[in-house]
C-alpha cells in the first residue's frame, strides 16, 4: 500500500469509529458547513507551503506520524520544520484570527457600532505597555514560551479594560459613548507610558517594535497548548450569546423588555471578548484589521443574524489570518513581512469598498 492509500484507509477507519452526533443549530449550519472544510483546507495548504520546499504528501505523512497514525518516512529536518515550526504557527494564526474576529463581531454587537474592533477599549495600548515594561526590564527575554513579555502584555491588556470599564461606569450602567471615550483616554495614557519607557531604553526599542508589529515567528506548541483552552472557552461563551446579542441590536430598553439583563450581558460579553483578545495579543502581538474587517465581510455574506454571523466570523478570521501569515512568510522569502502589514494592506481597500457601498445605499 502506498502512503496515500494507507492514509485514506486510516481516515476512513477513524471516521467510522467516531460516530459524532452533534446537532448544529439551524442558522449556523451555513457558516459551519462552509467554514469548517475551508479551514481544514487552509490549515493543510499553509502547512505544506513555506520557504523550504516539502512535498504535500511528505507533509501529510509527517503529521500523521505525530498523531500516531501509520505513515511514511521523512527526513529529520523536514520533520522539525513541519511539526515544530510550521504547524504550531499555522494553528496559532488560526486561533488568533478566530479569536480576534469573534471578539470584533461581539464588540460591534455590544456597542452597536460598526467601527468597534477588539482593541477599542484599551486592550492594544494596555498590552503594548505591559510588553514594553517586560522588554525593557532586566527580566529574561524569551518569546518562545509564554514568558514574561506575554504575561505582562496580558495583564496590561486586562488592567486597561478594567480601568476603562470603571472610568465609564455610571452607577450600574455603562453608557456606550462614555465607554468608548474612556477607552480612548486610557489608550492615550498607556501609549504615552510606552513611549516614555522606550525613550529611556532605546537599545530595546527595536525589540519592542518587532513585538508590536505582530507576527507568528515565535509560535510554539508550548504557547499554543497553554492558551487554547482559555481562548476556546471564551469563544464558546460568545457563540452561545448569539441570540441575546440579536435582541440587543434593537436597543437596550427593547432588549430589557424581552427579559435580557442588559448590563450583565454586556459586561460578560466584554470580559469574554477582551480575554480572548488579550490572550491572542499576548502570544502574537498587535495584529490589526482582522477584528474590524472580517465581521463586516461575514455580515455581507451571511447576514446580520449573530447565530450565523458569529460562527462565520470565527471561521473567516481563522482562514484570513492563516492566509495572511502564509503570505507574510513566503512573499519576500527568506525575509518576513510583519503579518499586521498584510492584514492592513488587504483590509484597507476592503474597507474603502464597504464605504462606497454604504454611500451608494444611502444615495439610492
Amino acid at each position: 500500500m502506498t502512503t496515500r492509500e494507507r492514509g485514506i484507509a486510516a481516515a476512513q477507519a477513524a471516521g467510522g469509529r467516531l460516530r459524532l452526533r452533534l446537532r448544529v443549530p439551524g442558522h449556523a449550519r451555513g457558516p459551519v458547513s462552509l467554514g469548517l472544510p475551508a479551514l481544514l483546507l487552509a490549515v493543510v495548504l499553509a502547512t505544506s507551503i513555506g520557504t523550504v520546499r516539502i512535498a504535500p504528501l511528505e507533509t501529510a505523512s509527517i503529521i500523521l506520524r505525530h498523531l500516531h497514525l501509520p505513515a511514511g518516512h521523512a527526513s529529520a529536518t523536514d520533520d522539525i520544520i513541519v511539526w515544530d515550526v510550521r504547524l504550531p504557527r499555522v494553528l496559532s494564526a488560526g486561533l488568533v484570527g478566530a479569536a480576534l474576529s469573534l471578539s470584533g463581531a461581539s464588540y460591534q454587537a455590544v456597542f452597536r457600532n460598526p467601527l468597534a474592533d477588539p482593541y477599542l477599549i484599551g486592550v492594544a495600548a494596555g498590552a503594548s505597555l505591559g510588553a514594553t515594561i517586560a522588554i525593557v526590564s532586566p527580566l529574561p527575554l524569551n518569546f518562545y514560551d509564554f514568558g514574561y513579555v506575554a504575561l505582562f502584555a496580558f495583564i496590561g491588556a486586562m488592567a486597561a479594560v478594567a480601568i476603562t470599564y470603571e472610568l465609564a461606569r455610571v452607577g450600574r450602567t455603562v453608557p456606550v459613548t462614555t465607554h468608548i471615550l474612556a477607552g480612548i483616554a486610557v489608550s492615550a495614557a498607556a501609549s504615552a507610558g510606552s513611549s516614555l519607557l522606550l525613550m529611556l531604553n532605546e537599545q530595546r526599542a527595536f525589540v519592542v517594535f518587532t513585538w508590536l508589529y505582530g507576527d507568528f515567528t515565535t509560535s510554539s506548541w508550548n504557547k499554543l497548548t497553554l492558551v487554547t483552552p482559555y481562548v476556546a472557552a471564551a469563544m464558546v461563551f460568545l457563540l452561545l450569546c448569539a441570540r441575546s446579542l440579536n435582541a440587543l441590536q434593537a436597543g437596550d430598553d427593547e432588549a430589557r423588555t424581552l427579559g435580557i439583563r442588559v448590563e450583565r450581558l454586556k459586561a460578560m460579553v466584554i470580559i469574554a471578548a477582551s480575554l480572548a483578545t488579550a490572550v491572542s495579543v499576548a502570544i502574537s502581538g498587535l495584529i490589526g484589521f482582522v477584528g474590524l474587517v472580517v465581521p463586516h465581510a461575514c455580515r455581507m455574506l451571511f447576514g446580520p443574524d449573530h447565530r450565523a454571523l458569529l460562527p462565520a466570523s470565527m471561521f473567516g478570521g481563522a482562514i484570513f489570518l492563516i492566509a495572511a501569515d502564509l503570505g507574510a512568510r513566503t512573499l519576500l522569502s527568506p525575509q518576513e513581512i510583519p503579518v499586521g502589514i498584510l492584514t492592513a494592506v488587504t483590509g484597507a481597500p476592503f474597507f474603502l469598498f464597504l464605504l462606497r457601498r454604504q454611500r451608494r445605499m444611502v444615495a439610492s
Partner: protein, 333 residues
C-alpha cells in the same frame, strides 16, 4: 416571549470544553515536547559573561565547554563547519580569524568583508526558524537583538551560542579570542586580539602627553541623536581623551537639542549619518541655521565616518581608534 440568557449552561459547557481541549492537546503533543527538545548541557549561573580564559595550546583545542552570554554551557567536540551568524560584528570576527569558509549564511546587514556578498542573507530582527533549519547548521551565533529567540532555536535542536555585543575594548578582545577558539582557529584569534590590542595601545600612547582633547559631537542622526558616555562609541571617545558634548547624558543614545550643541561649541563633529546613511556632510551641516557659528564648522572639522566601523564591536575597532586619533589630533607627531 422572553429570550433566555442562561449563563450557567454556558459556563458549564465552557468548562467542559476547556477540559476536553486540554486533554486532547496534551495527549497529542505531550510526548513530543520531550522528544524534540534538544539536550543542551547544564545551565550555569545566569549572568555569566562570555569568557575564554587562558591561551589554549593547539593540541588541547577540542573538546571544550564555552559559557555564552545567556549563561548556557555549550560543548564543542570539533570545529563547526556550517555556521550561521546573525550578528554583523560576529560575522566580521569570523572572517577575520579565518573561519570564513565555515560560514554558510549571515544576516542581511552584514556587508564586510566583501566575501559575505555571495552568502544567503537571513532576517536580522526576529529571524524565522525555518530558513535556518533548512540550512542544516551546526552552530548559530546570535547577538542581543535575537536574544528572545535563543530558546526557540535551541528547542528545534540547533546549537546556539549567544554572544551579546561587547560593551568595551577588553570585551572585544575576549570576543575575538572566543570566536577563534570556537571555530578551531584559536591561535589566529589570540594573535588577532593581541594585534588589535597593540594597535590601540600604540594609538593611546601617542596621546600620552595630551591633557585634554578636543570637544567632540558625534552625530548619529540629523535631529540631534548622539552617542552618550554609556555607549561603545562613548567609551572610545573617552579612550582618546576627547570631551563628549553628551558627557552628562544618562542614556546610551540621547537626543540633544540644537541649543545645547551650539552652547557646547564642539571643536570636531563626526557624522555617522553621512553618505549613504543619511546624506549629511560638511556642506549640509554648514547650511543648518545657527550651526555655522560652531567652532568645528568654522574650522571645517566636520568629518564623515563609516558608522559600521565605529559601531560594530568587532575586529575593525582598531581601525576606528586609529581613525579617531588622526581626525582629532591631526597635528600630533
Amino acid at each position: 416571549m422572553s429570550i433566555p440568557f442562561k449563563p450557567w449552561r454556558a459556563i458549564r459547557l465552557a468548562a467542559a470544553l476547556i477540559a476536553l481541549v486540554s486533554l486532547t492537546l496534551s495527549a497529542a503533543c505531550g510526548g513530543d515536547d520531550d522528544a524534540s527538545s534538544t539536550a543542551v548541557p547544564t545551565t550555569t549561573a545566569p549572568g555569566a559573561t562570555s569568557t575564554a580564559t587562558a591561551q589554549p595550546t593547539a593540541a588541547a583545542a577540542f573538546p571544550f565547554t564555552f559559557t555564552d552570554s545567556s549563561g548556557t554551557a555549550v560543548t564543542f567536540t570539533e570545529a563547526p563547519k556550517r555556521i550561521i551568524s546573525y550578528s554583523p560584528g560576529a560575522t566580521e570576527t569570523l572572517f577575520a580569524v579565518g573561519a570564513g569558509a565555515q560560514v554558510v549564511a549571515v544576516d542581511k546587514f552584514a556587508n564586510y568583508p566583501p566575501e559575505v556578498a555571495s552568502l544567503p542573507k537571513l532576517e536580522y530582527s526576529k529571524p524565522a526558524p525555518e530558513p535556518a533549519v533548512a540550512l542544516n547548521p551546526d552552530l548559530i551565533i546570535m547577538a542581543s537583538r535575537q536574544e528572545g529567540q535563543v530558546a526557540q532555536f535551541r528547542a528545534l535542536g540547533l546549537r546556539v551560542v549567544l554572544l551579546n555585543e561587547p560593551a568595551d575594548l577588553p570585551g572585544i578582545y575576549d570576543h575575538v579570542v572566543a570566536v577563534g577558539r570556537i571555530t578551531g582557529h584559536a591561535e589566529k584569534g589570540v594573535a588577532l586580539a593581541a594585534d588589535m590590542r597593540r594597535r590601540v595601545d600604540a594609538a593611546s600612547a601617542r596621546l600620552a602627553k595630551v591633557d585634554k582633547g578636543p570637544k567632540i559631537f558625534f552625530e548619529v542622526t540629523a535631529d540631534g541623536y548622539t552617542a552618550g558616555p554609556d555607549s561603545f562609541i562613548g567609551s572610545l571617545l573617552k579612550l582618546v581623551k576627547a570631551t563628549n558634548v553628551a558627557a552628562d547624558a544618562k542614556t546610551a543614545f540621547p537626543q540633544l537639542s540644537t541649543e545645547v550643541i551650539i552652547a557646547a561649541n564642539p571643536d570636531v563633529i563626526l557624522l555617522a549619518d553621512g553618505g549613504a546613511n543619511g546624506g549629511q556632510s560638511l556642506e549640509t551641516v554648514r547650511a543648518r541655521p545657527a550651526w555655522g557659528n560652531i567652532a568645528a564648522v568654522k574650522a571645517g572639522r566636520v568629518h564623515v565616518i563609516d558608522s559600521d566601523v565605529f559601531t560594530r564591536p568587532g575586529p575593525r575597532v582598531a581601525d576606528a581608534v586609529e581613525q579617531l586619533v588622526k581626525l582629532l589630533y591631526p597635528d600630533l607627531p
